[in-house]
Amino acid sequence: MALDKPYQDVPGTIIFDAEQSRKGYWLNQFCMSLMKAENRERFKANERAYLDEWAMTEEQKQAVLARDLNWCMRTGGNIYFLAKIGATDGKSFQQMAGSMTGMTEEEYRAMMISGGRSAEGNRYIGEDGDAQAHRQPQGKAGQAKKD
């Protein structure tokens, strides 16, 4: 019998469950290696060569090279592991989280200061909130798309 996964109908959200964890095992373990300063140096010196030392899929490597955190997450990455890449790049958690929305850093920061993203319209896939698939990307990037 299939497992109950009610969290799959939440928009803009990938829950890191056992299935995602299995898919992302080597991607996340690569991220973990960046906890050591010497590995951060080696990665920065030649990213591709360092990634090739890990049993990651080609898609996972491309997602890391592109610094596309949404793509990394779809291939099994978890934000607390992916944060080690951000730390290596000198990025804060806010910069990393904001990068997944399409908003600029300033836009995302302003949204948080004004009380954050509302849950209205963002509880179930198919509603009309700003996190829904048909309203991506957000911020100026989204405006540019409409114009």
Binding site: P6, Y7, V10, P11, G12, T13, I14, I15, F16, D17, A18, S21, Y25, N28, Q29, C31, M32, L34, M35, A37, R40, L69, N70, M73, N78, I79, Y80, F81, A83, K84, G86, A87, T88, S92, F93, Q94, M96, A97, G98, M100, T101, G102, Y108, M111, M112, I113, G115, G116, R117, S118, A119, N122, R123, Y124, A131, Q132, A133, Q136, Q138
Partner: protein, 287 residues
Amino acid sequence: MARITASVYTSHVPAIGAAMDLGKTQEDYWKPLFAGYDFSKQWMKDNKPDVIFLVYNDHATAFSLDLIPTFAIGTAAQYQPADEGWGPRPVPVVQGQPELASHIAQSVIQQDFDLTIVNKMDVDHGLTVPLSLMCGEQHPQTGAWPCPVIPFAVNVVQYPVPSGRRCFQLGQAIRRAVESFDEDLNVHIWGTGGMSHQLQGARAGLINREWDNAWLDQLINDPAGCADTPHIDYVREAGSEGIELVMWLIARGAMADVAGGPAPKVAHRFYHVPASNTAVGHLILEN
């Protein structure tokens, strides 16, 4: 005998630690947040515990995907602040309480909770940020935390995390364990993490002030009902990382009223948005 006299609840956002470490607490962005802890720092001095039982989660620091314990109790003599990729926080080493920790581990396992026992681990912002908020800045070498700490790590990284109900029951078992320890110790139990936040995807930045405050009301007045909140409600209403709030239910379950005693006194309550990506909640309950 040892006894739990109070419980403390607070968010543990890493940016709060960074703001303290970099001397930014008086900047406009941070000032209102730290003002909410002025009472708490004085309260800690006036109500100094002998031991803090600190419930938190590790953020892919001590535990990678090599090993994912649902509940892990630290029985070591000390714990180093971890390098999470930005370098270790400049805060004092955390002193453990191996005798009480080992006693609690044995008692709680005999009450049917299968804990993982940890004798060596570094502690990340999940543990050190609450200490900084409650005790103020401490010099890494010449300063010290006010008392020994028993770290208690809960898996909230890989789903499924333990249910709120299980956490609430575990808190009750921890209270019984503490009360069966012969030495006369004043113990605080802290629950950390939350409140509403989401760090991923197009929904990143979600905050739900109404839901958070209703949840706080219920945590205070109807903890058993609060413990029945299903996982999906946390995800849907408080964001994918809001599920950290189950850890608060461990501390709440350890309070005297759950075992038939009087209702706790709400010594302090505070709520603030934002700290980086997160809604910050804070409570102090006294038995």
